[in-house]
Amino acid sequence: MRVGVVTFPGSLDDVDARRAVTFGGNEAVALWHGDHDLQGVDAVVLPGGFSYGDYLRCGAISRFAPVMTEVIEAAGKGLPVLGICNGFQILCESHLLPGALIRNDHRKFACRDQRLRIENTSTPWTAAYEPGAEITVVLKNGEGGYVADEATLDRLEGEGRVVARYLGDNPNGSLRGIAGITNEGGNVVGLMPHPEHAVEALCGPGTDGLGFFTSLAAAAFA
């Protein structure tokens, strides 16, 4: 599949995300924040970083970038969209996902290898994992605390929309240990940790993140 990776001013992980997309057996297509054009891609990744300097709020200004008009419209029609870290923040600011990400409760930037449990394997981004799979990927964030009101959290849990949960110590104060969620349609996934940094044994904690990028190909042939 052709997978677009959007570069915003201040994106850091767009190149790693394109590399991971390629490792996953897909074609990576570079998309630019300032274009009203998705170049006909089959899926979109919003990568990590500090788009627009995190000014105002993380993701608040990126959400109104020209390309996001097309991303939001296509996501509403079922296009698979994965937001990683800053991308997750942008998806929440876009109201494609409920809740918000706030500053880590311990007020320090967290950078470490993080264990996660994949709790929903029905999304196009997680289909390659076994249900309940425990994986280790990189976590690096300053504003990664997932918050939403109790009713929203209950609905996410009840509908099986918690995609990934932190194992071990909660790294950022996320409510109910939530690391990633999906929308009602199951096509939009937001994830705070970075699977794209765990696709090669040489760099990072292993290759556990690869599933996020092989899932699309698996879904295409399912």
């Binding site: 608040a60 109104f64 600011e93 918000a100 706030i102 500053r103 409760d105 007020r107 939403a148």
Partner: protein, 80 residues
């Protein structure tokens, strides 16, 4: 020029780590008895022309769509 101020504050139930950091620093500077600090943002917006219900409504809309995130923040608009 029509001038408006928009105050944005984290909702009471939302953790405010920045406020907590300031709260922690105050006693070290000798300010005793401080029990709570919440940190927010203040925007000063200037709009062409006089203050009108329309321009006030426009600032309200700015506050709703961009200046605040209604999931975690409350805002207040006032004219100055």
């Amino acid at each position: 020029m029509a001038r408006y101020v928009v105050d944005v504050m984290p909702k009471p139930e939302i953790l405010d780590p920045q406020g907590k950091a300031v709260l922690g620093a105050l006693p070290r500077l000798g300010f005793a008895g401080v029990v709570e600090v919440r940190q927010g943002k203040r925007f000063e917006v200037e709009i062409e022309g006089d203050q009108t219900p329309e321009s006030l409504a426009e600032v309200q809309q700015m506050a709703e769509t961009l200046l605040s995130n209604p999931v975690i923040e409350d805002f207040e608009v006032r004219s100055v």
